[in-house]
Symmetry: C2
Subunit: 218 residues, 2 copies
C-alpha cells in the first residue's frame, strides 16, 4: 500500500531525476513538495523502508524500479484524467492540473484501464506530455533530434539514432551520456554544424552528430 503522500513524493522524485540514474537531493524534493527538508528526510526513510528508493544519508535518493513504476502509474493516471477533462468535460488546458492532482490518486486498476479505453488510448496529454502505458513504458514521442533545437535552448540527451560503437565512443570522449544537459550556443546554417555547451565546456559538433542524437527539451 502506497499512501497519498508517498505517491506525491515519488512523483516529485521522478520528475526531479533528470536521467535514469540521477540521484535527487533532499532540498530539491523539499522545494518541489513545498515542505521542509526535515519532513523530506522523514519521508525518504519511509520510502526507503518500503523499497521505493535507494537512500544513502547525505547523498540523496534514487528511485528503485518498484518506485519508478509507482511514480509512473500516478503520472499515467494524471495524464489520462487531463485528457478526459479537456476532451469530455470541456476544461481548458490550464484548468486541469489541480483536479488531475486529486484524481491521480484514485486506486482502481479497472478504472484506469477503462478510462484509457474510453479515451481511445491517448498517447499524449493536453500539454503534449507522453502518457505511460499500463506497464510503465513511456512513449518517447517527445524526443527530437539535436539538430532541431534552437539557438540558446537547453535540452537533455535521451538517446541516439546511430548506435554504432564509433559514435558512442565519440560521445563518450566528449562527456555526452544519457541525461547530459546540452545547451545550443550557436548554429551554422551553411553546414548545419553547432556549438554546444556541456558542463561548462564548449564543443563544436558536425551535422552528422546533430542528426544522430535524440534530446528532450526541458
Amino acid at each position: 500500500m502506497v499512501t497519498l503522500s508517498e505517491e506525491n513524493y515519488l512523483k516529485a522524485i521522478y520528475h526531479l531525476a533528470k536521467h535514469e540514474n540521477a540521484s535527487v537531493s533532499t532540498n530539491a524534493i523539499a522545494q518541489k513538495m513545498q515542505t521542509k527538508a526535515s519532513s523530506t528526510t522523514d519521508m525518504i526513510k519511509k520510502l526507503s523502508e518500503k523499497g521505493h528508493v535507494e537512500y544513502q544519508k547525505y547523498k540523496g535518493v534514487k528511485l528503485t524500479e518498484k518506485g519508478r513504476l509507482a511514480a509512473v502509474s500516478v503520472i499515467r493516471k494524471h495524464r489520462l484524467w487531463e485528457v478526459f477533462l479537456v476532451q469530455k468535460l470541456n476544461f481548458s488546458w490550464d484548468e486541469v492540473h489541480e483536479v488531475a492532482e486529486q484524481l491521480e490518486h484514485i486506486k482502481s486498476d479497472k478504472l484506469t484501464q477503462q478510462l484509457d479505453v474510453f479515451l481511445e488510448h491517448p498517447t499524449e496529454d493536453p500539454h503534449g506530455d507522453p502518457i505511460p502505458d499500463c506497464n510503465g513504458n513511456i512513449p518517447s514521442s517527445q524526443k527530437v533530434l539535436l539538430a532541431q533545437i534552437d539557438q540558446n535552448q537547453s535540452c537533455i540527451c535521451v538517446g541516439v539514432k546511430d548506435s554504432t560503437t564509433d559514435f558512442l565512443q565519440y560521445l563518450d570522449k566528449h562527456n555526452i551520456a544519457l541525461g547530459t544537459k546540452i545547451k545550443v550556443i550557436s548554429k551554422e546554417s551553411f553546414d548545419e554544424s553547432m556549438t554546444l555547451k556541456i558542463n561548462k565546456t564548449e564543443l563544436a559538433i558536425s551535422k552528422e552528430v546533430a542528426h544522430n542524437l535524440f534530446v528532450k527539451i526541458n
Copy 2:
C-alpha cells in the same frame, strides 16, 4: 474546509437519520463507520465545533442544514460518478461502489457540474437512487403508488397521479396534502382497499385512491 473523514461521517449520519429530525446514536455511527464509539465521539465534537451537527452529550446528533448540505453534496458526487462508471466505462452495477467511494471526495465544483452536463443531468444512479441537484434538493423520483406500501410502513405524500378536482377535493376533505405523513395500518387483498393512519385518525380508502396517490418511503 471539510476533511475526507468528516465527509464520510456526515454521509453516515445522513444515511442513518431516517427522517429529517431524527437524532443518530454514537454507536450506530461507529458501526456504520467501522470505528469504535470513542472515535465517533471525538469526530462528533469536531463536526459540532464546525456547525455541521447539533450535539448533546449522550443524546446523539442531528445534522444542521449546513451539515445536511455537505452530506448531500458528497452523495450527489457519489451517484454521478456511479452513472459515469456504468454508462461510460462499462462497469457493472455491483462494481461501482468502491470506486465511487473514492471519487466522491474530489473537490472541484466545475468537475461536478461538467460531469452532470456530460451525463445529461441524470436523476437517478444505477441503483435507482435519486441524485441530489447542485442545490441539495433531492428529486423525489422514489415516489411510488400508495398501493405499493406494505402494512405498517410509513410514507409521505409527494404527489397525485389523477389530478382531477374531484380527487383533490377528496384528499383535502380527509386532510391529505403534500408532505402529509401516512402510515399503512392494514391492507385487504380481496379489494385492494387500505386503512391508513393520518395525524392520529384512521381512514379507510379504496383501491382507486391507493392507486392515484404518490408517496415517498421514509
